[in-house]
Structures are given as C-alpha cells and as structure tokens.
C-alpha cells in the first residue's frame, strides 16, 4: 500500500519539529511480523502500540525482561526488616512493654505485622515501579496529538519510530513501514512552543503555597516559645466537668457551700469506739498496764494462733526478730539497707506496758505497718498477752519455775 499523502502533509504549523512516524497495522499478526522486520532493520528507538498485550510481541521486538520482580523482592525484604526492627525497637528496646510475662520480642507474635509490611512495601513498589518503568506519567506526547492514534485503546495496532533514531529517515522509514503492510502511515510533530500555563494560575499557586506555610509556622512558633496563657484545648475531652469539688461554693444551699454536713445524729465510722482502754490501750493519760478483757487460757491460745499468723514472718516464732523475711533479706547481697525487725525481748520492749504494745500492733512503729485494719481488737489483746508470755519465757528466773520441778533443771 502506498503511503497515504494526506497525513504526510504538514497538518501542524511549519515550525513544528518532527517527532517521529506512526504506522497503523490491520491486525496483531501483521504487527508482530512488522515488528520483527523493524527490529532487523536495526532501529533502536521505536515501539509497538496495541489495545491489549499482543502474544509474541516481546520476542519480535527483543524486549528485555523487566527488572521489576527484583525490585519487588528487594522491597519485600526491606518491609520485613523494617517491620521486625520497628517491633523490636518500640516494644522491646525503647519502651519495653511487658505483657502477661510474655517475652518482649518473639517471632510468632511479630509475624502478622511483618507479613503485612512485606506485602505493603512490595505492592507499592510493584505499582510505582511499573508506572516509572512504563515511562509514565507522561501526559503530553506527540503520539497523543494524532487523531488516528486514538484507536490504539480500542482496536488499533501501531508501530511508532522516533525521529531521534539514528536510522530514521523522513522518506525511507515511512516507506519501509507501508511496505510491511501498514494501512496508514503519518508523521507526528512536536509543537514548536509548548502551550504555557496562564500566569494567573501560576501566581495563584504560588500565593496559595505561601499561605499554606503559615499554619505550620504558627504551630512551630507555639511549640518553641513559652506562654502564661492556658493551653488551647482543641478537644476538651473531660478536662472541664460540670461538677462540684470539695470546698467549692454553690448557690443551691442557703449556706453557699457545695459540701453538705451529715444529717443530725449521723455516726461516722469509729464513733462508737469510745472505750479508750479497749480500743486504744489507754487509761487516763498513760498506757494501760492491765487488760480490758478477761485473761484466760482461751485468750492465750488465740493470741498464739494470731501471733503465728501475723507476726512470725518478721519477728520469728519466739519473737527474736529472726522471721523468714528477715533471714532472706539478710542473705541477699543487696541487704545493706535492711533493718532487722526488733526483738521483743530487748529491755526497751519488755518495759512497755500492755497498752503500748497494743498500740504498736494497731498503728505500727517505724517501718512496721499497722495491723488495726486486719486484726480484730480482741485478737490484738490476745497477741499482746502471748507476747508477754513469750517475754516471760525468754527472761525467766528460777523463781518462775514451780518448786516441785526446780530440781530437774539443775
């Protein structure tokens, strides 16, 4: 078929630069044959165009395999490393997050996020890599100015040869293409002067861009300077709540106070514990020496049982201050600051009246915590009784032993 004259006529302004030649072929088979011929003719800067991937065109054109799979593999491996590094650094190193005693960094728990980041990185690379390797985006191209070429996305098969190809000849190249079975051949031109963007638009973009810089600048300034104003609450959350706090005023009541006094006759906790001797171990101004409860064998047995539960961990079974906790603490290498519990048999304790011992059990002393909340008052008196018995047993004289058994001790 001869080269059709009409498309070859300069349909653009004469100053337009020649960009290349475009030839349409009737079907895919002819396109593949023509592609083989163009390649064998030694052209370098040329391409085939079709509405769908044509079978066998890659071999005909001698297209080299795309490096995209290697890029995707690299990105996937990168994603795995980023995910593992992120999870280790954040949860095991920068801010160790201990959850139910599980290891800070363990593979099984970190697999899901690693998998997702592998896929995300690899997928983004496959997409962006394909766009870049396809030479896209390129919104302005000489071929897109051709009306004939618009069929390429419907049913048109084309070959285009770039004018910059060393073998390109404005006469010979179109002739060769038509001899290969092209149904039409035309020359494509690059416009001499590209259409420019209106200056108004350019200035609008510049001004908008500068204005867009203002908010970040204000934020940066606010973060770098100090102010005695309360901070701006964009979202107040629950910082300001409509409620009364202690010692605030309220117009609801005649006395103007938000807090209400208890109803007449209300008893607070502890108000019924008026017996100073029983509840606080006091008689008059001093510590009580006597017991407010009857001293019986039962009380002694109860005291022993309660002492063994609450007191022995520190003071030991005999009250020597050698309980298990103290023993363990002294065995530790870092026991320098450990103060052993007091022995109940030192002079200082032995001369204390029963009421003072009771007070110590109730409210604690030095680092010993108070047990008033844990042990009932009567049981505390029982413990006091048992402590007196322990003190007596450790500091007994011969006179304390009944006369009948004294000979056995000698």
């Amino acid at each position: 078929m001869p080269v059709s004259e009409e498309p070859l006529l300069p349909n653009t302004e004469p100053r337009d630069e020649l960009a290349g030649v475009l030839a349409q072929f009737p079907n895919a088979a002819t396109l593949v044959e023509a592609a083989t011929a163009v390649r064998e003719a030694g052209y370098r800067r040329w391409d085939c165009h079709s509405p769908f991937p044509v079978h066998g065109i890659d071999t005909a054109m001698g297209t080299r395999r795309t490096p995209l799979p290697w890029l995707v593999l690299g990105a996937g491996l990168g994603g795995a490393m980023v995910a593992m590094g992120l999870q280790w650094w954040t949860n095991a190193f920068d801010y160790p997050l201990l959850i139910s005693g599980k290891p800070l960094f363990s593979l099984p728990a970190n697999i899901p996020v690693a998998f997702e980041l592998i896929v995300l990185f690899a997928g983004l690379t496959a997409f962006l890599g394909a766009i870049v390797l396809c030479g896209l985006p390129r919104w302005a191209h000489p071929l897109l100015r051709s009306r004939t070429f618009r069929r390429v996305t419907t049913d048109g098969m084309f070959i285009s040869i770039d004018a910059t190809d060393p073998k390109f000849d404005v006469q010979a190249t179109p002739n060769m293409l038509s001899s290969l079975g092209a149904v039409s051949v035309e020359l494509c031109h690059e416009p001499a002067h590209a259409r420019t963007i209106p200056s108004l638009l350019v200035w609008a973009v510049v001004v908008a861009g500068l204005l867009a810089l203002l908010p970040p600048l204000f934020i940066a300034r606010a973060r770098a300077t100090k102010s005695d104003q309360p901070r701006v609450h964009l979202v107040p959350d629950m910082d300001f709540q409509p409620k009364y706090k202690p010692q605030t005023a309220s117009g609801l009541w005649a006395d103007g106070r938000a807090m209400r006094a208890p109803v007449e006759g209300t008893l607070a906790l502890g108000d019924l514990q008026s017996d100073d001797h029983f509840w606080r171990g006091k008689q008059g101004d001093g510590w009580a020496a006597a017991f407010p409860v009857p001293v019986t064998d039962r009380l002694m047995a109860r005291g022993r049982q309660q002492f063994n539960v609450f007191c022995t961990p520190c003071h030991g079974l005999t009250g020597m201050g050698d309980g298990m906790i103290s023993q363990r603490a002294l065995r530790r290498s870092d026991s320098a600051g450990w103060v052993p519990p007091l022995s109940l048999h030192v002079e200082e304790v032995r001369k204390q009246p029963a009421g003072q011992v009771f007070n110590t059990i109730t409210n604690g002393a030095r680092k010993m915590p108070g047990y008033g909340a844990q042990i009932a008052a009567e049981d505390r008196w029982a413990i006091v009784l048992y402590i007196l018995a322990l003190q007596r047993s450790q500091n007994a004289t011969l006179e304390d032993v009944p006369e009948a058994v004294r000979p056995q001790l000698r």
Partner: protein, 461 residues
C-alpha cells in the same frame, strides 16, 4: 474447540470436549469497547440512575450525620453496654471486610489459577472490594470513643513516649486492613489505566478528555509498557493472594486470641476466610445480576459467569456449614463446660432466632444451588445471594454478640438490643456503598475492556 454453539446465548454446557465461550454474541474489539464505554460516555444520565443515586446518597448522608452525632455525644448513643462492648460496630466491620474478599479473590486468586472467566467481572468486583473496605474502615475508626484520637493506632513518635502494643491482634488488624485497602486500590487502579486511556481517547468533550487523561497517566498501549504492566499485575496478584487470606485471619484473631468462650477457637481463621469469600461472592451476584441487565452487559457477564460464582457460593457455603458443625463437635469433645454452654446457648438461648436464621440462610439455602436451574436463573440466584448476605451478617452477630452476653460469671450476664442509631448507621453504610458503586457505574469502565479483548472467541475478525 470452536463450534457452532460457541456464541450461542447459553454457554453453561458441561461438555468437556467443547470449551465454553467467555463472551457471547458477535463481538469484536471495537464492539466490546463500544459496549462498555458507552455506559460511561452517555451525555444524558438516565432518570433511574438519579433516583437510585438520590436514595443511596440520602442514606449515606444519614450515615455521616449519625457519625457526627456519635462523635459529639459519645458511644452511649449505641446499644453497646456491659458486657456487650462490641456489637453492631464490629459486626458491620467484619461484615463489610468480608464482602471485600470476593473482589480480591476474583482479581488475584482466579488470575493466578488462570481462570479467564474472571476478566468480565473483576473490575466491578474490585470496585466492590474498595467500597466495602471503605464502609468497613469507618466502624473501627468511630467505635474507639474518641474518634479524634484514631491516629493513636499508628506507631508514630509522640510526646507520651509510648508505642502501640505490637503483640495485640487489634494492632495487627490496623496493619492488615490498611494494607488490604491500599493494595486493593492500587490493583484496581493499575488494572483500570488502559481502560481509562480508552475513555480518554473516545472522549467527546475537552473536559472529559482532560480528566480521564490525567488518570490514564498518558498510557499509549506501548508493547514495552504492556510487558512491564503484565509483570506488575502478576506480582500484585501474587501479593494480594496471601494478603486476602491473611486479612480475615487477622480479623478472626481479634476474637480467637481472647479467652471468651465462643471466640477462643483455633478454627476461626479458615472459617472466617471461607465465610468472607462466601458472603463476598453473594454480594457480587447481588450486584451483577441487576447490573448486567440494566447496563446491557449480558454478552460479557454471561450466565456461565454467574453459574461459576454460584458454584463458589455453594462450595464455600458447605465449608461454612462444616465449620458450624465442627464448633459444636469441639465444644463437646474438648470437655470445657463453658464452651459447651456457649454453644448450647447459641442454639437454644435467648438469641436462638439469630442462630437459626444464620444456619438456614448459610447452610440450607445454598444447597438449592446443587440444582442447575437455581445456578442459571437470575431471579432464583438473586434470592439465594440476598439470603446468604443476610445469613452472613447474622453469623457475625451470633459470634460477637451472643458470646459476649454470656461470659464466665452469671452475675456479669446481660442482653443487647440495638438503638435507632445502630440501625441507622447499618442502613447508612449500605447507602454509602451503593452510592459509591453507582458513581463507579456511571463514570468508570465497568468491565476490563483490555482484558476481555484477550478472551474473545475469534480475536481476528
């Protein structure tokens, strides 16, 4: 292989010696382009489209109004309350994410298996995926209570100097769903670039040529570009295949990794994935049956396509039924009284009606598809597909809500019923979904034209 019946209207035959045509009618490249492009090129939008769009946009508007109401008032406007902390919000999230899975299965897994019938339906199915994941992603974003702090989900350096807990399934979910959405969108868009170029080249007005041209990125059908493009498409399919299986597995971890009876089950990941594909295909059928009739795409989306999808629905429906049975078996065989009670309570407790709706719709109804007439008659398969959608929504309700109403301590038991905001947001998410789908049908190529051209029975005519 090519014989007389190749282009006949019925291509659902099972004769193995004859390869069934994937496109029927006398189509060549130009007529395929014309058939699909004219839908997006109509200068006058049909009245029916406006009506449908107005209805769905109104519901979508309600959806966003209710989200605003929720954000300004608090999650108390929902029916969620102790012990049912997760209800419609998470039910709808799992439902919509599951819907999306069919699109990725069609576009990625069937592509890897060289199931070429996917080419006619993959575009619309992928669009469905993207829109369904958008609907899904709204729910976890707003159910956290202080929606304006949703960015705390991301690991970013902050003044509090703390990081998200990477051993929590809820965080895995953030990564899985966001990766899934990103990849689905890229896959959809990459596949659409040649077809956007078609619309650009056919555009009659300068504005349309400009807009389609911007999104077509200057695609010129270059053979070198096609080579890269096909490699990229294959790679994305290979990446999306394990991804689609992982997403619903991770969603199921949200439940399976906890210790609540009825949730703490190792069968969840495969069971959820099968259910997702099941519900997703049902939604594709629900969309495709009316779409192929209204938009005149019966030659491209043939009865054989629908029948194939119905076969997938039948297969996955049986898998889901098997999972329901195995759950009961393991509850009995495992000997854990709490788990046994949880499952008996599902079938016989106060929400038994929900359980039996689920079993009927998901296990019994799909059995109709053993009959060929149910697989190949559009109105019959519509009934099945819609009931499967209903059943799969109830499956998530059964798993999430019923399990939460009865935990270990009877003193902690409770009940759940949705408020009008719950129901409005559920309906509103459908409005958003259909609104996006209608926009897609109106302005974008509904069928992958470039791909369909490669499966035409007689390419050179």
């Amino acid at each position: 292989m090519s014989t007389l019946d190749l282009r006949s209207a019925d291509n659902t035959g099972n004769d193995p010696t004859r390869r069934a045509a994937l496109v029927i009618g006398h189509h060549d490249y130009a007529s395929v382009t014309q058939l699909v492009s004219q839908l997006a090129e109509r200068s006058r939008t049909p009245l029916a489209w406006y009506v449908a769009f107005a209805v769905s946009a109104a519901w979508a508007g309600l959806f966003f109004l209710l989200i605003g109401y929720l954000v300004f008032t608090g999650v108390g406007v929902w029916g969620n309350n102790r012990p049912v902390g997760w209800a419609f919000d998470i039910v709808n999230f799992v439902f919509w994410v599951g819907i999306g899975h069919a699109g990725t299965l069609i576009s990625a897994i069937l592509f890897l298996f060289r199931q070429r019938w996917r080419t006619s339906i993959n575009r619309a199915a992928e669009a469905m995926t993207v829109f369904a994941v958008i609907c899904a992603a709204v729910y976890p974003g707003v159910h956290i209570g202080r929606a304006w702090l949703a960015y705390w989900l991301a690991p970013y350096p902050n003044q509090m100097q703390i990081w998200p807990n990477f051993r929590s399934p809820l965080l895995w979910d953030v990564f899985a769903v966001s990766t899934y959405f990103t990849l689905s969108l890229l896959f959809w868009y990459l596949g659409m670039i040649p077809d956007l170029a078609t619309l650009r080249d056919r555009a009659q007005s300068r504005l349309k040529r400009f807009i389609y041209g911007v999104f077509a990125l200057g695609w010129r059908g270059s053979a070198r570009a096609w080579h890269v493009y096909e490699t990229a498409y294959l790679l994305l399919a290979a990446l999306a295949t394990p991804l689609v299986l992982s997403v619903h597995s991770v969603v199921s971890f949200d439940f399976a990794v906890s210790v609540l009876p009825g949730w703490h089950t190792t069968i969840f990941p495969p069971y959820f994935v099968a259910g997702a594909i099941f519900s997703g295909f049902a939604m594709v059928v629900t969309l495709m049956v009316p779409a192929r009739a209204w938009f005149g795409l019966k030659d491209l989306i043939t009865l054989r396509h629908l029948e194939n999808m119905n076969k997938v629905i039948l297969a996955t429906g049986c898998m889901v039924g098997y999972a329901y049975g195995i759950e009961f078996f393991i509850a009995w065989y495992g000997g854990n009284p709490y788990e046994q009670f949880a499952f008996l309570n599902r079938a016989l407790g106060p929400y038994a009606w929900a359980y039996w709706i689920m079993v009927t719709c998901n296990v019994a109804v799909p059995q109709l598809l053993w009959m060929k007439s149910w697989r190949t008659t559009p109105w019959k398969m519509m009934i099945v597909a819609i009931l499967v959608n209903v059943g799969m929504w109830f499956e998530r309700f059964v798993i999430i809500v019923i399990s939460l109403t009865r935990d270990f301590l009877p003193s902690n038991w409770g009940a759940y019923s949705p408020t009008w905001v719950d129901l409005g947001m559920f309906a509103g998410s459908f409005g958003l979904f259909f609104m996006l789908f209608l926009l897609f049908c109106r302005w974008l190529p509904m069928v992958a034209m470039a791909e369909v051209k490669t499966v035409l029975p007689h390419p050179e005519n």
